[in-house]
Symmetry: C2
Subunit: 394 residues, 2 copies
Amino acid sequence: MAVEHAHATPRAQTGVDTSRLPTDRVVFGPDRPLRLDSGAELPGFTVAYRTYGTLNATKSNAILVCHALTGDQYVAETHPVTGKRGWWDLVVGPGLVLDTDKYFVICPNVIGGCMGTTGPMEINPATGEPYGLSFPVITIGDMVRAQAMLLDELGIETLFAVVGGSMGGMQVLEWAVSYPERVFAAVPIATAPHHSAQNIAFNEVGRQAIMADPDWRGGAYQRHGVRPRGGLAVARMAAHITYLSEAALQRKFGRRLQDREAITYGFEADFQVESYLRHQGITFVERFDANSYLYITRAIDYFDLSTRNGGVLAEVFRGTKVRFCVISFSSDWLYPTSESRLIVQALNGAAANVSFAEIQSDKGHDAFLLDEPAFLKVFGGFLTGAGWHRGLEG
Amino acid sequence: MAVEHAHATPRAQTGVDTSRLPTDRVVFGPDRPLRLDSGAELPGFTVAYRTYGTLNATKSNAILVCHALTGDQYVAETHPVTGKRGWWDLVVGPGLVLDTDKYFVICPNVIGGCMGTTGPMEINPATGEPYGLSFPVITIGDMVRAQAMLLDELGIETLFAVVGGSMGGMQVLEWAVSYPERVFAAVPIATAPHHSAQNIAFNEVGRQAIMADPDWRGGAYQRHGVRPRGGLAVARMAAHITYLSEAALQRKFGRRLQDREAITYGFEADFQVESYLRHQGITFVERFDANSYLYITRAIDYFDLSTRNGGVLAEVFRGTKVRFCVISFSSDWLYPTSESRLIVQALNGAAANVSFAEIQSDKGHDAFLLDEPAFLKVFGGFLTGAGWHRGLEG
């Protein structure tokens, strides 16, 4: 328990000073290392998290929320860095789908992240310097293993539900496969059983954009008091396009001009969509660490449930008692419905308890973060039904 | 006719030395400026081009091939920089769709390009320095106006056909609208009547990647003897993803590893798709100019046929005698079939002579460059039919 973030040197504080974040933390000492899929170990690490609601006496009402690539633990409260609303405050709160009057909601920042959980921007206790690229490459499995250790620490043996979208959905699947006895219900949303070639390609563009920025300094930018702002902004811009559908971009922006009557015959942001995208890039850089972006995208690339058990996806779910609700969105081209169907088919092949809904929406991948009534109805209905079986209702 | 590329200074030769390219050229002197849509003028300019086949006595067999964003005039011969095959040698040649035993095929490098036609890397005669960002922003209309001046110079009043894919298809549409009396038949392939919000967004990511590279030097990299290689490679990588379909990427690469048995838990190119994409970026930088990339993508963004004539697309084609063949590919998500249908609907609304084919292919946007038998059959059949009407057949 010796490692504390208060040791962060001023040189490390070119991004967010995580030692000052309002967050709960569990600090694991060298006696409780995190064993990684790569074979490496993190000899001491911190998991930063937030909770909402109250754990009941039988500890049967805990729901784990798993965040996406650029998400964090600030699910249902003002973000301490950006000042914006919690990223899922439409879903988590009193009377909402994840009803904090009924459930105890826990959301940890993932291993490799940059909001207080140990990641490449934090201090390596062995050197007293930020990890940078000496941080070991992590996987979705490693993220989940750290979450399981957090739950042990909180005294929670079994989760009523584990839920999440996008990379969060991959963690949900990983939980159901690696810790089936600790999960009652699982809701993987807008996700896939493995990362597709096209998505690996988009991630690689983002990484190359970061690494091409001279201020990346081979990953050691903190030591030099700089940050690869331009590269990280470009990475975010490229990724952001994949989060929206063409229809959503057309409806939101079309070819409308930004605060001008006519095109300027120049390289300023003539079009609203350009202005929007630049804004996405610039604001992202203020809250996210470039090396975290490299590590987390790599974890996503590496995700492939079907490589276990001889490459047959159904086999990884064989005998599972977890109740699943798989949800996709019709206009999501990052994780299209066809990839959710692979999960459903595998669960059917394993005779698992699964319901599936494709939500009609033209908002693309980001629909899972938005006010989509049909989505919220399916999601909430499933949890209520599962709650009856778990004895949480009525 | 005073401006010659032999004046290019060594400082300008950080990219391709265009003065040594094996190409035909027409040099327009200050007496014949290029009037631009922006209101600016190019007071002297060069159009580099290549021809294949022989112009007949009545000059009725000329076909203009318009190239795409990163194409050039080397349609059907070994590329002088890359040593690769001509980009459309499946289409242009003896006995092929653009049969050089029958037709006289002309392909100019576009204004703003970097293979000998005047663009931002060429010397500004007013300063003796490379244009860089002092080059005026150009449009698809400007590209076509320069081509019309080239044809005047070659003594070709009327084109039997103007053909091209992607940005080449935009030039085809522009030709049909701006010079309908000079075009007998038009074949816009895998294109759109305007650039969509999503496509503007992808172009903007590419531009931001270039501009974020410190070696871009505000566009004056030639003066400093450097080039924004990293930024341009990232721009190419992001764009390249949009040229392929998800199915094509899955079939070509899937999640297969590159020369290794297992993932390495690192940031090397573990996956074949990463290796492929990096290769695309690296090789592109050897043959293309970063500022040209900025200018040409901007011309594409600005393309919107429907802004003329009060925003009604059918009106721009009103009374046209041009025979159209519009071709799209089912898996093209850069210029999806729905956008070709807008062209067809407008042509129908104008009671124009139009045939339309959506080619079933899973190869994405790049299908127009590949050996797609159904595409070549439709394309060739249309030209043969038009040739009968033009008196070129039988």
